[in-house]
Symmetry: C2
Subunit: 358 residues, 2 copies
């Protein structure tokens, strides 16, 4: 049982505060449950830019590559927005995804019954909501070339990006989606714009082909505009959704917001071998950074996903999930999920509540 | 006061039924208010394919070009889905947009107080909702080249589409959006993905430049993933939104669904001179076609937009809008918007109710 290594990248804004609580949970797991995991921290995002002039320093990338998994807080903030694109904090995210080959992004949108009121949707529409969006993360229009802004002969500028997928990129993300559906409700909805974009016509074809290997999974296809509608109209119709990088970016944020508590939602980005980067889906929230009021639960749940998907330790993963539920059941809430009748606590107190529940 | 001409394209599914009611309204306007408007019908979509082998016959395109405005019902349905792309009903829509130069698509998302319950969102989140989405309609990834599916030397297929905008395309849609904002709440939110896509970095730059000519309009920028979130979280923060063809497709459907009654929402697609094509945002609803239960109000309101934006007849436009409101106030409802305590009526009865209110 050799010790495994997690690269810890706290990042910017509330990143360091929320990661600290996840590490508290990890410490407890080490002490109480003999979990053999080392951690090593490195700079990423704006913090890395400030210290080294680049948001993804070579040492950070090397550490991330060498480690068994990566736990990331959040990157970005208004301080770095005026910077040139090439060194903006989000470049670090895109760089890590691409360099580590993290093509499969799993984004759950789960409504915790304890937080049902937080949603802007009517309770009957979202109660029990449990969607998993599988987003392709290293291809599509995010990385396609040619790209850039050019000046034509007549002096006019023209901006270009390229949406491109080859069969094998589609096949491997489809396989992840079908495998995931097999472990859940066995329903998969593939989202495309095949009536307009030939690239996603190929997407639909290849997903359908892959589906022949998964006869137990009920596969459907939906256009992206309709998917955005259906998420608002009747989100509980979905089990697993699979889609392109850009559509996944849009739909997963929409789905997350249906729950009303994005401070609760973790994510996993996996490579072909199950190595992964884990992070909360929320941002760096610079407006509340340093005040000790951020919600650490999404980061703690990201650690849970890390144990589930990379360490294949379902026992510990389930323990973390249950401890988070128990903390909620005990009535403690950070400010973002607080409501009448519950007890408002700090970031650290919320971390302590999870540790106590472990 | 020469007579103007509307090309009427009923299309497929419920198209003919709902267009019939709009024509009833037009007849009444002719008789009671001396409105000098001729109409001429033509085939489009699946109906045109069945009759002629193409969804957009040359006669239809010529009529649409020659007319002062186009009123369209809806196109498409499962019968034509197995067809080759080149002759599918939606090609007719894309062809009309492109051939007529209808680059500015205006899609209101308005919650009628009479139908507040229909929304899946909590009343306090959506009551009074009144957003207008300005979608670029003849450019971007919908029309960019290169496009298609190719087979590489190693036998693998690859699918490609191109997102492309030049400055003048962005400038003209931005101008429409700012002009529209000036007539409304003077707030414009431009939606892009400038942190990843260079093409939309140019979009943001040009929209900002155009904004200098509209100092009275408060301009903001938002990433598309955040916009999808904010539409669910707090949609009333928006007045006018402007965005690319693809993002507009997704966000306008999401915004429409916030109202819970897409049977109520019209749309306008305008060229540089204000000539336009007008259609309900809902589809051809093949499941209820021919049963006389479809909601004709979105089509009737589309006729209202036609008078407003192409005939510049605000008086008649406002009359139509008010007649629709009066019909709702009288308690009649088609099945899609029916609720306890209101009276369920047919498509024709709803048309009659609007005519009566005129
Ligand atoms: C920050 C940005 C580059 C990123 C993305 O678009 O993928 C973010 O929105 C996300 O979804 O993780
Ligand atoms: C039918 C389809 C081609 C069309 C589009 O994508 O523009 C539709 O979704 C719309 O929004 O009018």
């Amino acid at each position: 049982n050799m010790s495994k290594k997690i690269a810890v990248l706290p990042g910017d804004g509330i990143g360091p505060e929320i990661v600290r609580e996840a590490l508290k949970v990890l410490d407890c797991l080490r002490q109480e449950f003999d979990v053999a995991v080392e951690t090593e921290e490195a700079l990423v995002g704006g913090a890395a830019y400030d210290a080294t002039g680049t948001p993804l320093p070579p040492e950070t990338l090397e550490l991330a590559k060498a480690a068994d998994a990566v736990l990331l807080g959040a990157v970005g903030g208004p301080r770095w927005e005026p910077l040139d694109y090439s060194v903006r904090p989000e470049r670090a995210l895109l760089g890590l995804r691409s360099e580590l080959g993290l093509f499969a992004n799993l984004r759950p949108a789960v409504l915790y019954p304890q937080l049902a009121d937080a949603s802007t949707l009517k309770p009957e529409v979202v109660s029990g909501l449990d969607i998993l969006i599988v987003r392709e993360l290293t291809g599509g229009i995010y990385f396609g070339k040619p790209r850039g802004v050019r000046t034509l002969d007549d002096g006019e500028r023209v901006g270009i990006n390229t949406l491109i997928y080859n069969e094998s990129e589609i096949r491997r993300i489809a396989q992840v989606a079908f495998d995931t559906a097999m472990k859940r409700g066995k329903r998969l909805c593939s989202v495309d714009k095949a009536n307009v974009l030939e690239c996603t016509e190929l997407w639909r074809e290849v997903v359908t082909e892959v589906g022949r290997d998964y006869p137990a999974v009920e596969l459907s296809h939906m256009y992206v505009d309709n998917a955005a509608m259906q998420l608002v109209r009747a989100p509980k119709q979905f089990d697993v959704m699979v889609t392109t990088n850009l559509f996944g970016d849009i739909l997963s944020d929409c789905a997350a917001m249906l729950t009303g508590s994005i401070g609760m939602l973790p994510s996993a980005s996996l490579d072909e071998k199950g190595k992964g980067m884990y992070e909360p889906i929320h941002g760096s929230a610079p407006d509340i950074a340093g005040r000790g009021i951020a919600n650490p639960l999404a980061t703690i749940l990201s650690l849970g996903m890390l144990f589930r998907y990379t360490f294949h330790d379902e026992d510990i993963a389930a323990r973390i999930d249950k401890a988070v539920e128990a903390a909620l059941d005990s009535g403690v809430r950070t400010a973002d999920i607080w409501s009448e009748g519950t007890r408002k606590v700090s970031t650290a107190e919320m971390g302590d509540a999870v540790v106590a529940a472990l």
